[in-house]
């Protein structure tokens, strides 16, 4: 068992719980810094994990901490991406300025969407954000002067202060830096009065109001901050995919973002990252399984007889090459999580942690009664 021994309020104000945790994070940082040498072939995939991590962070602030569920975040990503490319390639602004402007512009869009949020709650707000996303997608395909419409628009590799970041490794470090920056800023806000006000709004608007929280101001602020993070993620996303077209920023992508925060665990920053790893890596995993599973099945069933093996190979091969497999698996996993682990991967992780930290005293019953849902999930 481990006990925290605190001697000053500053122990609770720090970013990390204790020196042990700080060392774990340092080790994690070292690991991701060394990753480019360990798995050079997968860097582009891991970069996408980092970009999705920023997206998850963005939606986590809004849905996980403020309790405002949005199905329009792909639109914010798109606004950030198109704005960045426009500032960078049409206006010729420096990269850093362009990203900052894109984030600011997306934040302004966030405020605009946030305004109706002051009057709507729950599922009605979600529908409003969905409508916003559909409108914005239409704008992307019609406003050809900026977006080049349905033809799509190629994106150059990033060049920062004259240094080209065209290689996968360089782009990997760029994404990592932005993700760490985003995490740091968000963790800071969450341990300050603004973050607590957001959580208060999520759990009880009426009580938050009676404690002096200006609901309209903090909800708008949450939308703006969330959108700004999404805008920065959009800039990276544009470079990552190298070609912008309106149909990328579809409702499906918004749903993937929502899936990310629910599977990762609503109401925790860890959850945003776990969810990003899950959503970005699952397609890679499925693609690999497409190639390997039929052979494995063929081999295993082949032990019974050659014909059976060949038949199994064909059957499994046909199944895994079905076009709708990926969304199907995503959906299945989401349903399983909501049924068995409402607090997501992070909730499960906490249970495993508790098992070790209280080792001989752990009881299964500790969690039996506590399958609780966040209010943002219950949709009031």
């Amino acid at each position: 068992m481990r006990f925290a021994f605190k001697t000053s309020y500053d122990h609770d104000l720090g970013l990390f719980r204790d020196p042990v945790q700080r060392r774990w994070y340092a080790a994690l940082l070292a690991a991701v810094l060394l990753l480019p040498w360990a798995v050079p072939d997968y860097l582009s995939d891991v970069s996408l994990v980092f970009i999705y991590g920023l997206c998850g962070l963005s939606l986590m602030v809004l849905a996980g901490f403020t309790g405002l569920v949005s199905l329009g975040h792909a639109a914010f990503l798109g606004i950030g991406a198109y704005a960045h490319v426009f500032f960078l390639q049409d206006l010729g602004l420096p990269w850093v300025v362009s990203v900052a402007l894109a984030a600011a512009l997306t934040a302004a869009a966030g405020v605009l969407v946030g305004l109706p949020a002051l009057r709507m709650t729950g599922v009605y707000l979600t529908i409003a954000t969905l409508a916003f996303a559909l409108i914005i997608q239409e704008v992307f395909s019609r406003w050809e002067r900026v977006t080049h419409g349905l033809k799509g628009r190629p994106v150059d590799k990033p060049v920062i202060f004259g240094v080209s970041l065209a290689s996968d490794a360089a782009f990997y470090f760029l994404c990592l830096a932005l993700l760490i920056g985003g995490l740091w800023l968000t963790a800071n806000v969450l341990r300050a009065p603004t973050g607590r006000a957001w959580v208060a709004i999520r759990d009880s608007e009426i009580a938050a109001q009676s404690m002096g929280v200006h609901l309209a101001r903090y909800k708008t602020l949450a939308f703006a901050y969330s959108a700004a993070l999404m805008g920065a993620a959009g800039a990276l996303f544009a470079h990552r995919i190298g070609f912008l077209a309106p149909d990328i920023f579809s409702v499906l992508l918004s749903i993937q973002f929502l899936l990310m925060v629910v599977v990762g665990g609503l109401g925790s920053l860890h959850g945003a990252i776990y969810g990003a790893v899950f959503v970005a890596m699952l397609p890679v995993l499925i693609a690999q399984m497409r190639d390997t599973t039929p052979q494995w099945a063929g081999h295993v069933v082949g032990l019974l007889g050659r014909d059976a093996g060949a038949a199994a190979y064909l059957a499994v091969d046909r199944f895994v090459k079905q076009p709708g497999l990926e969304p199907g698996i995503f959906g299945l996993i989401l349903v399983l999580f909501i049924l068995f682990e409402p607090l997501g991967i992070y909730g499960r992780w906490r249970k495993i942690q508790l098992l070790f930290s209280t080792f001989p005293l752990y009881k299964r019953a500790t969690f039996r009664r506590q399958k609780t849902y966040m209010r943002s999930e219950r949709l009031r």
Binding site: D12, N188, A192, R196, V199, S204, A207, S210, M211, Q370
Partner: protein, 252 residues
């Protein structure tokens, strides 16, 4: 002028007159209790004071200031804090975070400073923490400081909610049925705390309560309501023996 006064307060919801011409005055340092049968309009009066509802007519004054049209989030800053009948805590936050949110009325959040967590944000946090720790000591909540509210028993939640209200450093504390759902011993503790809140912290208490033993133990003045109207007002004994009050409760 009195410390707190409601003057001819009234509110209608459609055709229903939930509160009708209610006037009362609370002096500084008093414990003032509102009693009445279900649906008499007690909680509605609280919601009018904390400005969740707009009164249809009448005036509310607090420390010589008209607060009838003050926006709801300003009420805490003026020095009025409240609890709720069915506990409105922030369930997925720790007890400490709940208490710290009670400090919101004293915080001057500035997003850019918070994003960077500048030293002045940290210093302010330390100050809020000290204030919250005083309340933790006062209400003996040390054991629950880091527990999530969802994991706490009902009786403790009730105390935490009172603590959150105390963290706003109010001059007037509104307690909406502080003893509902509590056991006999917990209700007795509640009576001691209410007495301490008045005696040690100098906070005026306005409460809605059904448990007459608690009302009798702590109240200086009692106001009885029925159908949104004042039936009687006076000391606990006077009100309890008032024929109209007995009629309101027992019928006939």
């Amino acid at each position: 002028m009195s410390f707190f006064a409601a003057d001819d307060l009234g509110v209608s919801f459609g055709g229903i007159r939930a509160v009708d011409g209610v006037s009362f005055e609370v002096d500084a340092g008093q414990v003032f209790t509102i009693i009445g049968p279900n649906g008499a309009g007690k909680t509605t009066i609280f919601n009018l004071i904390s400005r969740i509802y707009d009164p249809t007519d009448g005036r509310l004054t607090f420390r010589d200031e008209d607060i009838t049209r003050v926006p709801p989030h300003e009420i805490a800053r003026r020095g009025i804090a409240r609890t709720f009948q069915n506990i409105e805590l922030f369930e997925h936050a720790s007890v400490l975070d709940n208490l710290l949110l009670g400090r919101h009325a004293h915080a001057r959040p500035h997003l850019l400073q918070e994003l960077l967590y500048l030293p002045r944000v940290r210093a302010a946090e330390r100050g809020h923490r000290e204030a919250a720790e005083k309340v933790i000591d006062f209400l003996d909540l040390q054991a629950y400081r880091d527990s999530l509210v969802v994991n706490l028993p009902y009786g403790v939640r009730k105390v935490v909610e009172m603590g959150r209200a105390l963290c706003t450093e109010p001059a007037l504390l509104l307690l909406d049925e502080p003893s509902s759902g509590l056991s006999v011993e917990e209700t007795e503790d509640m009576a001691f705390w209410i007495q301490d809140i008045r005696a040690l912290l100098g906070i005026t208490v306005l409460m809605v309560e059904h448990d007459m033993s608690l009302v009798g133990a702590v109240s200086d003045r009692v106001l009885a309501l029925n159908y949104g109207r004042v039936v009687a007002c006076g000391t606990c004994q006077e009100v309890q023996s008032h024929p109209d009050v007995i009629k309101a409760y027992l019928g006939g």
